[in-house]
């Protein structure tokens, strides 16, 4: 045995002895704190390596199944498109359902009225005028002066007609005047439109109590509108002792920009006062 062989044998014996000692120390539990400390440090590194390996494996798998994924993606995109169109159809059905329920509700509230549903097809292009066009006209029995309502109340009245369309002057137009009354006190006044979709109730006699939130209804005076249609709700009262009348700012319950379906009251004819 030469010198280097002898060194190898010595190293082998030392390592075997260390291994045996390690096993014995481990079995005796003397190495546990040291093992734990090392593992504690190793775990994050293991995690990073594991993640990287997992990622790499996933990448390989992905690359292998690229064609299959592309096909699946196409199928899913198609499915999403189908579902979207179904959602749109359901939403439309819901809107229609709501509109029909509103109509039904309106008929329950005002059973005496014969209502003709009409679609709102256009708005006045001017910022100063409040008109809408509906898709029902003289061919459907609509005449000038016909009253148009929605479930939330009075929308306006027809001012001009064609065969299959009508122009409706909204209650919020500055040229519109409607005889109204406060629901609680029955005090009368005139509701007229203001610039920019506002409504004012004028000519409320002094001494009449006007409260915020009071509902304002058509009074039926003058014969242009049937009695009892909702026009709005009091949101501000202007009362000065030196003036003959009080005034109230009203808010309509109708969102005029969102109205899609309105109802023409067919069995009400406005009175012509000579």
């Amino acid at each position: 045995m030469n010198g280097s062989q002898g060194r190898a044998v010595v190293l082998a014996i030392v390592f075997v002895a260390l291994s045996v000692a390690g096993v014995l120390l481990h079995l005796a539990g003397l190495l546990t704190p040291a093992e734990n400390a090392v593992l504690q440090l190793a775990i994050p590194v293991q995690r990073v390596i594991g993640d990287a390996a997992g990622g790499a494996r996933e990448l390989v798998t992905t690359l292998q199944s690229l064609g299959q994924l592309r096909e699946e993606n196409r199928r899913l995109a198609q499915e999403v498109a189908d579902l979207q169109s179904r959602v749109v159809r359901l939403q439309e059905a819901e809107i229609e359902n709501r509109s029909l329920r509103e109509q039904l509700g309106f008929k329950r509230v005002y059973p005496a009225y014969d209502l003709l549903p009409a679609e709102v097809v256009g708005h006045d292009p001017s910022n100063y005028l409040q008109f809408v066009s509906i898709d029902k006209g003289s061919n459907d029995g609509v005449g000038v002066g016909a009253v148009v309502v929605v479930a939330q109340g009075l929308l306006g009245r027809v001012v001009s007609i064609g065969g299959n369309f009508s122009k409706v002057l909204l209650v919020t137009d500055v040229s519109s005047s409607v005889n109204v009354m406060l629901q609680s006190s029955r005090a009368s006044g005139v509701a007229s439109g203001q610039l920019g979709e506002g409504l004012t109730m004028r000519y409320i006699p002094q001494g009449e109590q006007v409260r915020l939130g009071d509902m304002v209804l058509t009074s039926g005076l003058g014969g242009n509108f049937p009695k009892g249609l909702i026009v709005g709700r009091v949101k501000q009262v202007k009362q000065k002792d030196i003036e003959l009348f009080q005034e109230a700012q009203l808010e309509s319950l109708i969102d005029f920009r969102r109205v899609e379906v309105a109802y023409v009251i067919r069995n009400f004819s406005p009175q012509k006062i000579e």
């Binding site: 006045d124 910022n127 005028l129 122009k167 920009r257």
Partner: protein, 169 residues
């Protein structure tokens, strides 16, 4: 340009202005589509074309409006004519001046429109109408003007009957 195409474009503009009402409303007012078209065409083609477009565009708007026929036509014809009074090469060669033109034209149109409506019985307060509606509308019209102006300029070039207009920023 073929007058039929003008009618088609302006009627389309008026139809859009009427139908897109709920979607175009910003800060309580809507930008016009027809007015910037008339102003643009007047700048591109000259006063005669501006007047013609003003009349056609105004009549198209009146058809969709509850106001008597002719109110918008009258105001827009005047705007179509007046826009080109300050005609110059400078006016046509940059986009900044058409923007100023549409802002001023919009204020003039709205003021005329309100005065005409007042004369016809609408109880519109002029000062409030100008401050609350005309000024915001003029701002919105100025914002939509570049799209309409550049679009019509492209159509004008395509029609091959207009003077060469170079646009420089």
């Amino acid at each position: 340009m073929n007058v039929y195409l003008a009618v088609l474009l302006l009627a389309g503009g008026a139809l859009l202005q009427s139908s897109l009402y709920p979607y175009l409303t910003i800060i309580g007012v809507r930008p016009g589509i027809v007015l910037p078209m008339v102003v643009s065409w007047s700048i591109i083609k000259g006063a005669s074309a501006g007047v013609t477009w003003g009349l056609i565009g105004g009549l198209a708007l009146d058809l969709f409006s509850g106001a008597p026929l002719g109110v918008s036509a009258l105001a827009l014809t005047a705007v179509g004519f007046a826009t080109n009074l300050g005609e110059s090469k400078l006016f046509k060669s940059t986009l900044v001046l058409p923007l100023i033109a549409v802002f001023l034209a919009s204020l003039a149109y709205d003021t005329m429109h309100v005065l005409l409506l007042q004369a016809l019985g609408w109880d519109l307060p002029l000062v409030e109408a100008v401050t609350r509606i005309a000024v915001p509308t003029a701002i919105l019209n100025t914002i939509v003007m570049p799209v309409i102006y550049l679009g019509l300029q492209w159509i004008a070039r395509r029609s091959n009957r207009v003077r060469e207009l170079e646009l420089e920023w």
